[in-house]
């Protein structure tokens, strides 16, 4: 019976081709708009997610806390309270931690030939590259031997390399940092801007031991102290739980009493970007909601045409009733017609939406992501609209009085 209803529906849709096409257009545009808009939103989301990846989505940074000298509180990192030993203790004792890399940072004037450039000098260990998800593009990273032997080797960030060497190959060249000669052994891959706009590629990495001895100097209070520890949490582990455990460990190691504040700072960088991700998600929903309005308008178009069709075919309905069609048969017939209309429109709309999404990414160079779930959703929504807006006209048809319907002019 349903198959029969489908055949009847297709025939009656074929009779009025232009009207059918125009009615479908509403659904087509609606479905296409939903798919294209959701893909634009998903593209924005994917970009944010990628930024989080580049930052190290599971990165926690420990910074030295503020000092309090006779009631004058100095800023973050003004006191060097965390040490290399804290870093190895975290790596050793917190099972959620994959790697913990201590580092110290300072600024220095760097000279190569007749060019000079002021940049950030970061003293790092071999673990730093893994902790920050920061691969070396050319050459080699800082190795454990470099840290042990305090060798004078340096890796350049992309920005630093450009300012000192231009297009020339920096590998093997000698640069001077605070008049100390360093051999360039590697070029870091591009990291881009951090989420707060800082150029992360304007940096030189050197072994931590060398940095302390030759460039940044050693803290008077504690020779083992460092500026920060970059901690990478194992994939899919709970960041909040890891933070709690690290905080507890550091408080214990620093012998802090319960009434004392932390003498260090914990930073979870992904939080900032998660907020961005949230907002781009909201944007996706908003775009989808706006697009859904056009789908709704398309549905009203279907209802309109179905009402016209029921009126036009009153005699046909009367005849079908006279020869034995029950109310249910008539209802099915018109409902199937409305759903067929919206589903064919939906399929074409999906094709248009995919095409539109590709066109947006090609022409506007705006990244789009086609989510299969959005396609399935739009299709289901189109079917639901066919049923919802087809029901009233179909019910109206099924309730016609056969005598009146047969006499209808």
């Amino acid at each position: 019976m349903l198959l029969q209803a489908l055949r009847i529906a297709l025939r009656s849709l074929k009779v009025n081709k232009l009207r059918t096409a125009l009615t479908m257009l509403g659904i087509m545009i609606g479905v296409a708009a939903v798919i294209a808009m959701v893909s634009v939103g998903a593209g924005a989301q994917a970009r944010v997610a990628e930024q989080i990846q580049s930052l190290g989505s599971n990165l926690i940074i420990v910074l030295s806390g503020s000092s309090n000298a006779a009631g004058v509180r100095l800023g973050q990192g003004s006191q060097t309270t965390i040490t290399e030993d804290d870093a190895s203790a975290i790596a050793r004792e917190v099972p959620l931690v994959q790697v913990a890399a201590p580092s110290s940072r300072g600024n220095a004037q760097v000279v190569y030939g007749n060019l000079n450039w002021s940049t950030g000098i970061q003293g790092v260990t071999a673990d730093y590259f893994e902790a920050r998800d920061w691969p070396v593009e050319v050459g080699r990273p800082v190795l454990q031997e470099d840290v042990d032997g305090a060798t004078k080797v340096a890796l350049l960030g992309q920005t630093t390399a450009l300012n000192l060497f231009g297009d020339a190959d920096p590998i093997g060249q000698i640069i001077r940092i605070k008049k100390v000669p360093f051999t360039v052994v590697g070029l870091l891959s591009r990291k881009g801007q951090s989420s707060w706009g800082q150029d992360q590629d304007d940096v030189i990495l050197i072994p931590l031991s060398t940095a302390k001895k030759k460039v940044l100097g050693v803290s008077q209070a504690n020779a083992r102290s460092v500026g920060s520890i970059s901690i990478k949490i194992r994939p899919d582990e709970d960041m909040a739980e890891a933070e709690t455990q690290i905080r507890a460990l550091l408080r214990q190691r620093h012998r802090l009493q319960p009434y004392q504040d932390d003498d260090f700072w914990l930073r979870n960088l992904s939080e900032v970007l998660q907020t961005q991700e949230e907002s781009s998600k909201v944007m996706t929903y908003l775009l989808a909601a706006i697009a859904s309005v056009s789908l709704l308008v398309g549905g009203i178009g279907i209802m309109n045409i179905m009402l016209v069709s029921v009126t036009e075919r009153t005699r046909e309905i009367g005849l079908r009733m006279a020869v034995g069609a029950r109310s249910r048969d008539i209802l099915t017939q018109f409902l199937v017609e409305a759903v067929t209309l919206s589903l064919i429109g939906g399929v074409i709309g999906i094709a248009l939406g995919i095409g539109g999404s590709n066109a947006i990414s090609a022409l506007a160079e705006w990244r789009t992501v086609l989510a299969p779930s959005a396609i399935v959703l739009a299709f289901g929504f189109a079917a639901a609209i066919g049923i919802f807006f087809g029901f009233y006209p179909a019910r109206k048809a099924s309730r016609l009085d056969p005598i009146e319907a047969l006499r209808y002019e």
Binding site: M1, Q4, R11, V15, R315, E316, G318, L319, R320, M321, A322, V323, G324, A325, R326, S327, R328, D329, P402, I403, L406
Partner: protein
């Protein structure tokens, strides 16, 4: 046993505060194989009577047995099933589905009877042949003459092997010769045992029936039997058309 039996059948319409008695206390019995003409001026109640006989409407009073089944108090959907199984309709305006082949038009009642498509096709073809249109099964109504369209409609009415054929002014839209041809077809079917009830306001047409029911003011005024005219004989006396309708 009578095919159609009514007992004090009545139908009232309520128009605001007024009640119109469209039909009052009709008791009629129609035996299998009768050819009955229902006559009367407009407003006489003959259309109301036919609607009740056709199970398109329910009576306000009285009882109605169709082929032994009491159908006066059935629900809408039950009536649809009865119409499908027991009644074949022929209308003045033919009421064929446009843009649909003659064969598919004939098959239509079977569609709602849950008959398999193979059997539908087979029975549809047989009925088209019975009305002399076997070679027109793929023609659409717009490609057929009025007489041919009415034959398709008669084939459709026959396809479910109904207990009775109800024909409402079946010749109202046809010229004289074609009308007589349709009547000849109905007479032939009647001689094969089919019960036919035909509504007309033309006495000429009613003369081809063997029994006449005349309605006036909602009541049955006359119920008489007469020797019917033979439509085949009548055709011989009519001038030949340029092209006889096959």
């Amino acid at each position: 046993m009578a095919i159609i039996a009514t007992e004090e059948l009545g139908k009232d319409y309520h128009l605001g505060p007024h009640t119109v008695h469209a039909l009052r206390g009709i008791s009629v019995s129609i035996e299998p194989g009768e050819f009955v003409a229902v006559m009367g001026p407009s407003g006489s109640g003959k259309s109301t009577f036919m609607n009740l006989l056709g199970c398109l409407d329910r009576p306000s009073a009285g009882r109605y047995w169709l082929d032994g089944q009491d159908v006066a108090r059935l629900s809408r959907d039950q009536l649809a099933t009865v119409r499908n199984a027991k009644i074949g309709f022929v209308f003045q305006m033919f009421n064929l589905l446009p843009r649909t082949s003659a064969l598919e038009n004939v098959e239509l009642p079977l569609l709602y009877g849950g008959i398999s498509s193979r059997e539908r096709r087979q029975r549809g073809r047989a009925r088209l042949q019975a009305v002399g249109l076997a070679d027109r099964e793929h023609h659409h109504p717009s490609q057929l003459s009025g007489g041919q369209q009415q034959r398709v409609a008669i084939a459709r009415a026959l396809v479910n092997d109904p207990a009775v054929i109800l024909a409402d002014e079946p010749t109202g839209n046809l010229d004289t010769r074609t009308s007589v041809e349709i009547l000849a077809l109905l007479q032939r079917l009647n001689r094969q045992g089919l019960t036919i009830v035909l509504v007309t306001h033309e006495p000429d047409i009613a003369n081809y029936a063997s029994r006449r029911l005349v309605f006036r003011d909602g009541r049955l005024r006359t119920d008489d039997h007469a020797e019917p005219l033979d439509a085949v004989e009548a055709l011989k006396s009519l001038p030949e058309e340029d092209e006889a309708v096959a």
